[in-house]
């Protein structure tokens, strides 16, 4: 009976609620509370629908990464491209033309050309710097590179940007992959080995074997609140090794540009008996140190001159000697494509970076004397793809894959040589 009583009480209360509350409700509660958008500030709060994006931007602010002091409006209502957005303020109502509330910007809208001046959250004009080398019109074929207004051939990552732009019609993806917490997986495919026929110190025939591909997978997956596209990383947090892990491992294992130069200039010294390590010092390195392999190290070869010009604090001490290099002219974004030839040939771009002018002043005894050596290098550079250059060099200078000492393998008469590609 007690239960029946309680049920009746509940029924009575429910009936009372029905009788005393409103008799109808609108289909969407709140749909008749239309915001007043006539103030001079932004009256529709983007983050009310995009909270997770706002949280990612908060991380950017904590990191003090690029865009940390920008608002949604700065990028998504950027007027520099001529887009007119819907606006209502004290001076009137102006319908949007190309967009209503917002648009999805291209990074190059602000970072193209000479960059742009935009207002930050404090109302202060700040400069969006140009994305050097990518702030120009892309030409699809490097051989058509005749004017500075196209992405120069020298700029590493050009193909990445170009593919995103031309195939996916969204070059932002390339920017986001490096500059934000957006994840990237890369499958690199290299020819497994090259084949050369050496006769009397010259490569008489040679080819790369593309039918046998070496596959290397890099997975750089990041956990994010949303997509990660709004967590903009400080430049110093962009780590070359994350995407080029194979190069990194090649470096610390002595298989990427692992040249050792004898301080005594004496070939008789055990050229392959030392741990070889390129670039940190020219002799005396006997221990590999992973901590040395960082972006600064990469920059020394791949971005050397420009780093020196723009960031003296980087510790790069190369002397700026040639104002006409691609990097010096701002035609390189973050890295320049190089090969051994780039620094170690007297006619090359960065010949002064080789303190020993390896091919110019080589005074080694036969058979590795300078004329032959230089001729081989020239022949290689002219006739074989860039990625082969290093392998030709490595065939003599790298211990790991070397078939034996000079004269015992490659140069013991006419030989067919298979050289595995680096790293």
């Amino acid at each position: 009976m007690r239960t029946v009583g309680l049920v009746l009480i509940l029924i009575a209360i429910t009936a009372g609620i029905f009788l005393t509350t409103m008799r109808s409700v609108s289909l969407l509660k709140g749909s008749h509370v239309v915001y007043n958008i006539s103030s001079n500030s932004v009256d529709v709060n983007c983050s009310s629908c995009h909270k997770h994006v706002a949280e990612e931007m908060a991380i950017t602010r904590a990191l003090h990464g690029p865009h940390w002091d920008l608002s949604c409006v700065t990028c998504h209502r950027y007027k520099g491209t001529g887009i007119r957005f819907a606006t209502a303020n004290s001076s009137g109502v102006y319908p949007g033309k190309q967009a209503h509330a917002a648009y999805v910007p291209s990074c190059l809208d602000c970072h193209g050309g000479k960059g742009a001046w935009v207002y930050n959250v404090s109302g202060v004009l700040v400069h969006a710097p140009p994305a050097r080398a990518f702030n120009v019109t892309y030409e699809s074929d490097y051989r058509n590179w005749t004017v500075v207004s196209s992405i120069p051939y020298y700029a590493a990552h050009k193909q990445f940007v170009a593919y995103c732009e031309n195939v996916l019609h969204d070059e932002n993806l390339a920017c986001l992959a490096c500059h934000t917490n957006y994840s990237i997986n890369i499958t690199y495919k290299y020819p497994n080995y090259i084949y050369v026929y050496i006769s009397n110190w010259y490569i008489t025939t040679g080819t790369y074997v593309s039918s046998s591909l070496k596959v290397y997978n890099v997975s750089y997956v990041k956990k994010n609140i949303f997509s990660g596209k709004h967590i903009f990383l400080p430049l110093k947090k962009i780590n070359c090794s994350k995407c080029h892990e194979n190069i990194y491992l090649g470096l610390i294992n002595g298989k990427h540009a692992p040249i050792y130069v004898s301080p005594k200039w004496n070939l008789s010294e055990n050229l392959w008996g030392f741990v070889r390590y390129h670039g940190l010092a020219y002799y005396g390195i006997t221990t590999l140190n992973k901590s040395w392999i960082n972006d600064t190290y990469c920059d020394k070869c791949h971005y050397c001159v420009y780093v020196n010009l723009t960031d003296p604090s980087s510790g790069v001490t190369y002397t700026y000697k040639n104002p006409f290099t691609a990097a010096a002219k701002g035609l390189v974004h973050c890295a320049e494509k190089v090969s051994c030839y780039t620094c170690h040939h007297r006619n090359s771009t960065y010949w002064w970076l080789d303190p020993y002018y390896a091919f110019l002043n080589a005074t080694w005894s036969s058979p590795l004397d300078a004329p032959y050596h230089e001729a081989l290098i020239n022949q290689t550079a002219l006739n074989y793809p860039r990625y082969v250059h290093g392998d030709i060099c490595m065939s003599c200078h790298e211990a790991s894959y070397h078939f034996g000492k000079c004269g015992s393998e490659c140069h013991a008469g006419n030989r067919i040589v298979y050289q595995y590609t680096e790293p």
Partner: protein, 233 residues
């Protein structure tokens, strides 16, 4: 007698009272007080049934509008009306007292469907480029809306509205941003890309003086899809 029994008896008595007492009055109190509809405007107080809407309007930028300014404003609809005398009554055709309304009726580019003074044009959308047809004018050559970030939202709202019982046209999209309506959204986002790159020979370059190769990007696909729920309240 315990409390339950007492309560049960009380409720039974009250129920009997409800049944018995009204026999001397009309079933609904006030049902014979007919409104005079012959005056200007709408003389039926919408607020009687839609007090919640009225309360919302009090907080709205539309607070100076009458209900009829929106809900009896469609020029293509003949609403029931009386002018001057009950003998001069116009029966409603497509609607009697009111019609539900799409925001764009008053906020389209020329508001040709609205009988009242149109609201400001909500320019900057383009739904035709997404293959969606609306009876309202969203864009023209000047107001192209070709890069609007929310075009898909607006277009989908229209597409769903065509043939469904949701709000008319793109109204869901409008109220999602411009009103206090609670909105729950599931964003399906990709969180990364898969890149395939192949070392590729190119040939001799007269610019570099070298035989060139490059790592060609041969494919990019999106990966890491996940659903993120956003709730605007």
């Amino acid at each position: 007698m315990d409390f339950g029994k007492a309560l049960l008896i009380t409720i039974i008595v009250l129920a009997l009272g409800v049944i018995v007492l009204p026999s001397t009055v009309s079933i609904f109190h006030g049902q014979h007080i007919w409104y005079n509809l012959s005056g200007y405007g709408n003389n039926v107080p919408c607020v009687k049934c839609h007090a919640d809407v009225y309360a919302e309007l009090e907080q709205s930028v539309h607070k100076n509008l009458k209900c009829s300014d929106c809900h009896r404003a469609n020029k293509s609809i003949t609403y029931a009306s009386v002018s001057g005398s009950y003998t001069n009554a116009t029966p409603g055709r497509e609607a009697h007292a009111a019609s539900i309304v799409a925001c764009m009726m008053c906020h389209q580019i020329n508001a040709s469907y609205a009988s009242k003074t149109p609201g400001p044009y909500a320019g900057g959308f383009n739904v035709t480029m997404l293959g969606v047809v609306s009876k309202y004018n969203y864009s023209n050559a000047t107001y192209s809306g070709v890069v609007a970030a929310h075009n898909p939202f607006v277009a989908y709202a229209i597409a769903k509205a065509n043939g469904s019982k949701l709000l008319l046209d793109s109204t869901e999209a409008c109220v999602a941003c411009h009103t206090n309506s609670e909105v729950s959204m599931n964003f399906t986002v990709n969180t990364g890309i898969n890149v395939t790159a192949l070392d590729t020979p190119l040939g001799y370059s007269s610019i570099t003086g070298l035989n060139e190769s490059q790592i060609n990007v041969t494919g990019i696909t999106f990966t890491g899809f996940k659903v993120v729920r956003e709730v605007k309240s």
